[in-house]
């Protein structure tokens, strides 16, 4: 079980935006592993984050917070905490135009409030509590597998292209594997295959377009 901290300083928006209003809020409140402070207590926590003095419970694996309630120092504090503890972070705000995901240091999703408070929120939180490996993109119904497959195809084509140009410019006696650029892309490809839980095979590489089509048609 993983714990989630949800900080919303505008509960009226929560009530209005969630599809089932108060009953959805009650459902969230009833979740033992979701910490959702209200009113003054919530404000106090946000203030102490902005003052960089808040002490998180050690087991918090996902922090969800209204971006506009945070100052630059508050955001920096959360950044440091998430790097150190490998926690995930979701920032929602009415001023955000498009959802952007980044997993350079830790899993970070920035999205619009209206895209956050949807019918997908409760199932997502339930799933995340059960497994902290739950992909943050599931919250915005983005087909993350399709996204990874599309990237995989792109990188496969890029490596093919590098190989092709290498073949043209280099003699047969030279070892192509020493191309560091190729090596870098290969590492990313292997990681993607791992995340997608797909075994690398010539068959798979040949059928990548079909696999993508199948995945896209699901969404």
């Amino acid at each position: 079980m993983s714990k989630i901290l949800l900080l919303e300083d505008r509960p009226s928006r929560q009530n209005n935006s969630l599809p089932n209003g108060i009953s959805d809020i009650n459902a969230l409140i009833s979740m033992n592993d979701l910490i959702m402070p209200e009113g003054d207590f919530c404000e106090k926590i946000i203030n102490s984050i902005n003052e960089q003095v808040y002490e998180f419970e050690s087991s918090i694996e996902l922090i969800i917070i209204h971006r506009s309630s945070l100052s630059a120092s508050g955001l920096k504090y959360l950044d440091n905490y998430c790097i150190k503890n490998n926690s995930a972070l979701i920032l929602f705000s009415g001023g955000t135009s498009e959802a952007i995901y980044n997993d350079d240091d830790f899993r970070l999703l920035s999205l619009n409030s209206a895209d956050f408070y949807t019918e997908r929120l409760i199932p997502f939180i339930e799933k995340f509590i059960l497994s902290s490996d739950t992909h943050l993109l599931e919250l915005i119904q983005s087909n993350w597998r399709a996204s990874y497959l599309l990237k995989l195809r792109h990188l496969i084509k890029i490596t093919e292209m590098i190989n092709l140009s290498g073949n043209k410019s280099q003699t047969n006696t030279e070892d192509k594997s020493i191309n560091p650029e190729l090596e870098d892309f290969q590492i990313i490809i292997d990681k993607l295959l791992d995340q997608l839980d797909i075994a690398k095979s010539d068959e798979m590489l040949k059928n990548i377009n079909y696999i993508i089509k199948k995945e896209l048609l699901k969404s």
Partner: protein, 641 residues
């Protein structure tokens, strides 16, 4: 060659980028959203892209072609920021590449892109092509083809028109039914018009870099072109009409306007030092407060904004109460002179106001309007809203608690004209406010008086008394539209006195003091005298006023004079004032109705009514000097026989 290659260094080999530049095809620029960008407080992808195009490494010039990948994201490849960037390239004026051919590179099929993102529409617009071949050789071929085959550019406006026709950009999902969009675009345009846009950096930033706002700007540009073309067609007709107007007519019109303004100036009773305006708007801090302050400075009006934290943990009722208190505690003193003259009131002040299919009467702004009007109906409430729904307008501008003006926040209309109208709306409200606030207060005072009537029909008299007062205030409100309603208001108040004077029973009040059979003669303005006779009605004794000479029942004038003189034990000064008011009624208002009474006359009448009906009111306002009063009393006593 002059091409621009945009890439993400984790998705494109450096060798391609290097060779692209070494072969002098053009420049190659790396774009990516870093985690450090994402944790900036005001991060927004549109702002990030706009800054990249205008402020970073890219030289601001017209390129022969722009090579752009579909995706520029590594963590979530299918964000397809490359497609979004293409919209920015087309819709950012300062980037000067409106018509530059864009070649998208990547493995994606158009259907795949359209399946994942709405931004795929751009693939089907002019000067867009795609390639799956990601190599310098391919880029060079594409460039050569474009340089050879690309036709001469169209007119920019024509191109833009074709472009926006084929795309649609949705507002950010939390922008509720265009409300926030209109709100912000109006704020920016109007602030620009009066030169205070530097005070709203956040809004300015949002509107100048947001893709949706760039799209709206393009739409408005096209609309403007169509309007200009239509105006050009009309110019000839206008010229002909202008020639037909003779100079003399223009001069005559000017003189008439001057006269009207002079009359209006006389009628405007400035009861307080200066009109006061209160702004109740959840976006006040965003810039509306500064905007109104600057706008109103031109017409010498001042504005204050209560500090209400609309966007925190406040319930709708909390917001309503806080707004109501802000009105009551204006300048921390709830006395009449410290009520705000005008309240600029936003209609949607709470998150609950954005629920779909909400009855306009449940909107926070409407509920506050009702409460303000209960405090004092004379406070001028001007609704400011970004919603152009007519049912809102109808609900607000009708009924018992109606608004006194309506400002539609809409950035699409000509800002110069709109701001002139806003100033006029506020100025007119300011002129009305002083009179109406004071009148309302006096009428309320009258309504609270308990008229001591021991009559079988006293209840019906009280009812009609209240009704007549309500009507009088409504007529006064209407008088801002047409002066004649001021006369009707005067007559309505006179009617109160007349009804009262016609109650024979009121004259039995001091039978003991006067004694049975006591006769007196009263005199008003030294012109007429009446005698008072004691009569015994079947149930109780009364005094009847009769014309001394004719012995006939006399008019209201005489009856009220009797009330003034004997019931109120008042002085000649008061009788003279009654004479003045009665004369106004007979000569100016009542029969011919050609002349219009002033607001000052209305106040005199109201004070007179208070004097008559309020038992606690011992003298007729304005109060006079005590010594003078004693002297007048002596004079009055000497006249009583």
């Amino acid at each position: 060659m002059n091409a621009l290659l945009i890439y993400n260094d984790q998705l494109l080999p450096n060798s391609i980028k290097n060779q692209f530049e070494e072969d002098n095809i053009g420049i190659a620029v790396n774009y990516k959203v870093l985690k450090s960008d994402l944790i900036e407080p005001n991060f927004n992808i549109d702002k990030h892209i706009s800054n990249f195009l205008l402020e970073d490494e890219i030289e601001l010039k017209k390129y022969d072609v722009i090579f752009l990948p579909y995706s520029l994201s590594t963590s979530n490849y299918s964000e397809y920021i490359g497609l979004r960037m293409a919209y920015h390239i087309r819709l950012t004026d300062e980037f000067v590449n409106l018509q530059t051919p864009i070649v998208f590179y990547g493995e994606e099929e158009p259907w795949e892109l359209c399946k994942v993102t709405l931004n795929g529409q751009i693939l089907f617009t002019q000067n867009i092509s795609t390639t799956k071949k990601i190599s310098v050789e391919s880029f060079r071929k594409q460039l050569n083809y474009i340089l050879e085959e690309f036709n001469q550019e169209k007119d920019d406006k024509e191109f833009l028109k074709g472009f926006v026709k084929r795309i649609s950009i949705l507002p950010p999902s939390s922008y509720n039914s265009h409300h926030s969009v209109n709100n912000e675009s109006a704020l920016l345009k109007w602030s620009e018009e009066i030169g205070c846009d530097k005070d709203i950096p956040e809004v300015k930033d949002n509107l100048q870099t947001g893709l949706y706002f760039k799209y709206l700007k393009a739409l408005s540009k096209i609309k403007k072109t169509v309007d200009e073309n239509l105006e050009d067609d009309d110019i000839e007709d206008d010229d002909i009409e202008d020639e037909d107007i003779e100079d003399e007519d223009i001069e005559a019109e000017d003189i008439e306007d001057e006269d009207i303004e002079a009359e209006q100036a006389e009628d405007n009773v400035d009861l307080t030092n200066e009109p006061k305006i209160l702004l109740i708007d959840d976006e006040a801090e965003k810039g509306w407060s500064k905007f109104y302050e600057r706008l109103l400075a031109d017409i010498d009006l001042k504005l204050t904004t209560p500090k209400i934290k609309y966007k925190t943990d406040l319930s709708q009722i909390d917001v309503i109460k806080k707004a109501e208190n802000a009105v009551k505690n204006f300048k921390k003193n709830p006395s009449l002179k410290d009520l705000p003259h005008i309240v600029l009131l936003d209609l949607r002040l709470h998150d609950s106001d954005f629920a779909l299919a909400l009855d306009p009467k449940n909107l926070t702004g409407y509920r506050i309007l009702k409460r303000i009007k209960k405090i004092n109906k004379g406070i001028q409430v001007i609704i400011t809203t970004a919603s152009n729904k007519t049912w809102n307008y109808q609900a607000l501008m009708s009924g018992e608690h109606r608004a006194d003006g309506y400002i539609l926040k809409n950035g699409e209309d000509d800002p110069k004209q709109v701001l002139e109208n806003i100033k006029k709306t506020i100025e007119n409200a300011s002129q009305r406010a002083g009179v109406l606030i004071k009148s309302f207060d006096l009428i309320q005072r009258l309504k609270k008086t308990e008229i001591d009537l021991k009559l079988p029909d006293s209840q019906s008299f009280q009812k009609s008394f209240q009704l007549n007062l309500n009507i009088a205030f409504k007529l006064l409100e209407e008088s801002s539209l047409e002066d004649k309603y001021r006369n009707y208001c005067f007559l309505q108040l006179y009617q109160l006195l007349e009804n009262y004077a016609n109650l024979k029973e009121i004259y039995n009040f001091k039978t003991n003091e006067l004694g049975n059979g006591f006769k007196c003669i009263i005199e008003v303005n030294g012109i007429k005298t009446w005698k008072l006779e004691h009569k015994k009605l079947p149930d109780y004794p009364v005094y009847i006023i009769k014309d001394k000479k004719s012995e006939k029942d006399v008019a209201t004038f005489a009856k009220l004079a009797f009330v003034v003189a004997f019931l109120k034990n008042s002085d000649n000064n008061c009788l003279d004032s009654w004479g003045y008011l009665n004369n106004l009624r007979n000569k100016k208002v009542g029969h011919k109705g050609i002349e219009i009474v002033t607001y000052d006359d209305i106040f005199k009448m109201l004070y007179f009514c208070i004097f008559i009906f309020d038992k606690t009111e011992k003298s007729y306002a304005p109060p006079i000097d005590k010594n003078q009063l004693d002297e007048l009393k002596k004079m009055l006593n000497s006249k009583r026989i």
